[in-house]
Symmetry: C2
Subunit: 135 residues, 2 copies
Amino acid sequence: MLSKKTKYGIKALTFIARQPERNPVQTSEIAKSENISQKFLESILLILRKSGFLGSKKGKGGGYYLIKEPEDIKMTAIIRVLEGPIAMVPCVSLNYYEKCEDCPEEKTCSVHKLMIQVRDSTLNVLGENTLADLT
Amino acid sequence: MLSKKTKYGIKALTFIARQPERNPVQTSEIAKSENISQKFLESILLILRKSGFLGSKKGKGGGYYLIKEPEDIKMTAIIRVLEGPIAMVPCVSLNYYEKCEDCPEEKTCSVHKLMIQVRDSTLNVLGENTLADLT
DNA sequence: TAATAACCTACTAAGTCGATAGGTTAATAG
DNA sequence: CTATTAACCTATCGACTTAGTAGGTTATTA
């Protein structure tokens, strides 16, 4: 299940990407328009800023703005930051690999075999979609 | 993240499918071989029996056995029973559809648009794999 | 009749999620 | 120079889920 954090994060980024001008967008505006708790959204946008997706400006007329072009922001990157690993099992994760303590060997593990395929197909979809595709 | 319930369930089913004879396999044997808490595994196998994947036999020489051929058991079916919806968001789920309370319309929702693609590719992988493929 | 193994019910420690509360800091307007 | 604005930061919390544990009962076989 996708967490609300990730869900709201994607919605917020899309909202910002849809702006005709590149002016900063305020958290309150996004929260209102997308029906998101403003405080919760604040923490999400903060993560996205610290991860290099967004820039920010304080004070009146401030807000958040995209640093890169929407075409250059892959969904894999966004989801890895907000949701964590894309793989459903750590032993098939490319970026967060971890050995299972119970499995003697991965080669003969049925779960491993299946989840590698799931990971690859998911990775394929998320890698081909950019923020621009969701606008 | 895949729950241990599902992970263990798949491992157990694979273990049973690997048996040369169709004799019942005991929970204790699977638990020992796959490093799973026996009590926890019991509850999982019970679910799989009630869902029609396994048959059971009590008393000495008893255990669990496959009801259908491994080739006829799709991974989609197993995962739906143990893990629940395959879709990452209820609003794109085929079997457990639920409207988002925050979204005004799904057509313009970026998360919806993306997660439909993820669902389809995952469904494709899990639908093409049967228990026999993981043996 | 004893042993075996499935079956059933209830409970729990630990962790995560989605928020809320209550501030501080920096930029702008007047 | 002061007030306002909006990002930024820290702490806390209730509700829920997960992965088990405990302690039995029922049905089958030897």
